[in-house]
């Protein structure tokens, strides 16, 4: 091209020595302009993605951070022996006979005492609307844990109701309460007065991170902890199954299997499996593990097995890619000194492919950790009234939820207090994922070797 144009156009310089290098010809100008335009597109795309990332992070932090704090009401509850322990012998079975409802009058008395100085039109019986309905259970649990408290007056920090909590966080305003039968504006006057004397405080709530889910009417009590354990048990299943199976399958396919139409077919199918919608794996898990194998519903074991099916193609693909990336000269070298094919793979090829395999595995695990759809079909989404599992076995087999399923569950509940918790749950999930990614980077660095 350049030659042709040189033939057609006369020399630009007066001296007749050919084109000057100091002025750009039209072609070069066009080319440079295209280059600058392309760079500009790239920068614009980058700026857009950074903007959206910033917006996402801002939204998550703004909406989610309040979930980590909770409003507590501090009151002094009298624990009279004649109500809580009628026989007077501190027998734990007798104490347990008093239900949470038995504690409610004591809490009401304590509230009346705490608000004695405050002028209010709220009836004594309605004062407890300020507290979470879990208050009775909290006091009862404390008494059962330590029966010596009976007969004393003990200071308790009780969860405020979600409306009071919302008021403290600015989510609930007085006008909203006109049509709300859970709380009256008059209650808020009491809250204002109490918060000035330190009776109502807002502080960091470990129970949101470590606690169990709560029923629809008690958002202030709901926590992520049990679902987090469910996720951990599922990830254990996924890791223990998909890493060895996936790596073994890849090594066989890549290093040992003959190249014929069967292996081609398998290869195409593995690539296709990686693109199958995850809900398909969910219904497969339902059919195979629950309906056919009769494993328990809602169990992290089944969730883990289902997610293993989903993760395997990812691990196989990344492992094969990293095995392919090992230079063939290393294989020749090992075979040349008389290593068997298996020794070649395990002594030389696999160690070099390890960073790639680990990265692929952790990406697969992270994908599985964030997956909700398959869990819908095996009963891991919904209000699963579970406590901490008693041990490893029950961790795998007892009904549980998982972090993304828990977030989904909160997001669809009616109470606006759950909206905040869904955002907070996202923060916990992201911290989990980031931790896994950091582990991936550290492992990669550690295993990486140059050749």
């Amino acid at each position: 091209m350049t030659l042709e144009t040189a033939d057609i156009t006369p020399p630009a310089t007066p001296s007749g020595k050919g084109k000057s290098l100091l002025t750009q010809d039209a072609r070069t100008k066009k080319r440079n302009a295209a280059e600058i335009r392309f760079k500009a597109y790239g920068i614009a795309a980058l700026a857009f993605s950074i903007l959206f990332l910033a917006m996402l992070l801002f939204a998550i932090v703004r909406n989610g951070v309040p979930a980590f704090t909770q409003t507590f009401v501090t009151i002094e509850v009298e624990l009279p022996a004649d109500v809580l322990d009628k026989n007077g012998n501190r027998d734990i079975d007798d104490i347990k006979k008093v239900s949470t409802f038995g504690y409610n009058p004591l809490i009401q008395d304590a509230l009346v005492a705490a608000t004695a100085d405050i002028e209010t039109e709220v009836a004594d019986g309605d004062l407890k609307k300020m507290l979470s309905s879990s208050a009775g259970a909290t006091v009862r649990n404390a008494v059962i844990a330590n029966p010596d408290l009976i007969g004393q007056t003990v200071e308790f920090e009780l969860l405020a109701s979600s409306r009071v909590d919302g008021y403290m966080k600015g989510r609930v305003v007085r006008e909203d309460l006109a049509r709300d039968r859970n709380l009256d504006a008059a209650h808020l006057d009491i809250v204002d007065a109490l918060s000035q004397t330190g009776g109502v405080t807002r502080k960091f709530n470990w129970d949101f991170i470590l606690g169990a889910d709560a029923s629809e009417s008690r958002p202030e009590q709901a926590g992520m902890g049990v679902a987090m354990l469910g996720s951990v048990f599922m990830m254990l299943v996924v890791l223990l199954l998909s890493l060895p199976i996936g790596v073994a399958a890849s090594i066989y396919l890549e290093e040992f299997a003959p190249q014929n139409w069967i292996t081609d077919l398998i290869e195409v199918n593995i690539s296709n499996l990686a693109a199958v919608p995850s809900i398909v794996f969910g219904i497969l898990g339902l059919a195979v593990f629950i309906q056919f194998a009769h494993l328990p519903q809602s169990a992290p074991l089944v969730g883990g097995l289902t997610l293993t099916l989903m993760t395997l193609p990812t691990i196989v693909i990344s492992t094969r890619a990293s095995l392919k990336a090992v230079p063939p000269s290393i294989r020749s070298a090992a075979l040349g000194v008389g290593a068997s094919e298996m020794q070649t793979v395990f002594h030389h090829v696999l160690p070099l492919a390890m960073p790639g395999i680990l990265t692929g595995t952790i990406i697969g695990l992270a994908q599985a950790l964030g997956e909700t759809a398959p869990l819908l079909l095996i009963g891991m989404v919904g209000y699963i009234a579970s406590n901490y599992p008693d041990g490893i076995a029950s961790g795998f087999l007892d009904p549980n939820s998982a972090m993304p399923a828990q977030i989904f569950e909160w997001a669809k509940r009616a109470d606006p207090a759950y909206y905040e918790r869904a955002w907070g749950g996202i923060i916990i999930l992201l911290v989990f994922l980031m931790t896994m990614n950091i582990i991936a980077i550290i492992l990669r660095r550690r295993f990486e070797r140059r050749w």
């Binding site: 000269s329 290393i330 020749s332 070298a333 075979l335 040349g336 068997s340 094919e341 020794q343 002594h347």
Partner: protein, 267 residues
């Protein structure tokens, strides 16, 4: 074709004490006939050079001698290759044992991404040649000495082999190959990635290795073949055109193709 036969047969006639005998060897890559009816006898304790233009099949034939072609699915070898009168393509032969007996050095230096010591010790370890750590140390030292690398490597035995210069890496690969106590050493263009000084060192080394091994070297450089080998085989388009004493090949070639090649007219 007739010419090839004549020269090959004549070459066999002059051989004494042969280590490797190839009879009517054919190699196919899928449908491609890469090696056509090669007959050759390679003597013990000599250096034999394979020369010829690119794609003439000299490397392919070399890789048949330790069955490295087994790893290529579409490759098929016919005919007989005997080492010490044993057919190496006999179904009873395990390629692993064969490759311990027939060591190989490759075109590009390819040390393992491990320490110098581990590079040399790997072969003896997997073949169980050393019973104790002291035995292994001794094998490593003697192999590195034979490869003329001991003085440069003795202070950095536990540093990565990949950190050495190209020439050192290739000598490390030679040390690694001779550590398994092979009887034959195959070298596939061992100096093509090296500078002249490193090449000279490796050539000197090859001459010394002749005391203990039968060396077969594939080379692009005719000067190198003339310098290091006693016997030279000229391959062209998959045929073994001529095989004779190196002096004779370079001074008085019988086949016109050989003459054109060494005088630079083809290739």
């Amino acid at each position: 074709m007739l010419d090839d036969k004549y020269h090959a047969d004549r070459a066999v006639g002059t051989m004494q004490d042969s280590k490797i005998t190839a009879k009517n060897v054919q190699v196919f890559y899928g449908d491609t006939h890469a090696i056509k009816d090669v007959n050759v006898e390679i003597a013990d304790k000599t250096v034999t050079a394979f020369i010829g233009p690119s794609g003439c099949g000299k490397s392919t034939f070399l890789r048949c001698l330790n069955r490295m072609n087994d790893t290529i699915d579409i490759c098929r070898v016919e005919g007989d290759i005997l080492i010490d009168d044993e057919d190496i393509y006999d179904p009873r032969v395990d390629p692993v044992q064969l490759r311990a007996k027939v060591g190989m050095v490759f075109q590009k230096p390819n040390p393992f991404p491990k320490s110098i010591y581990d590079n040399v010790a790997y072969g003896p370890k997997i073949h169980g040649l050393a019973k104790t750590k002291a035995d292994l140390d001794e094998i490593v030292e003697s192999s590195l000495r034979k490869a003329a690398l001991w003085n440069e490597a003795k202070d950095r035995l536990h540093q990565p082999g990949t950190g050495m210069s190209g020439g050192q890496q290739q000598r490390l690969c030679i040390a690694r190959a001779i550590a398994t106590a092979p009887e034959i050493l195959l070298m596939d263009e061992p100096c093509s990635a090296l500078d002249p000084i490193a090449t000279a060192q490796v050539e000197e080394l090859i001459d010394e290795l002749r005391q203990s091994f039968s060396v077969v070297i594939v080379t692009h450089s005719m000067q190198q073949a003339a310098r290091v080998s006693q016997k030279t085989a000229f391959f062209h388009l998959g045929n073994l055109v001529e095989f004779d004493d190196t002096d004779k090949i370079f001074t008085n070639p019988q086949d016109p193709r050989t003459e054109s090649y060494i005088s630079g007219r083809i290739g």
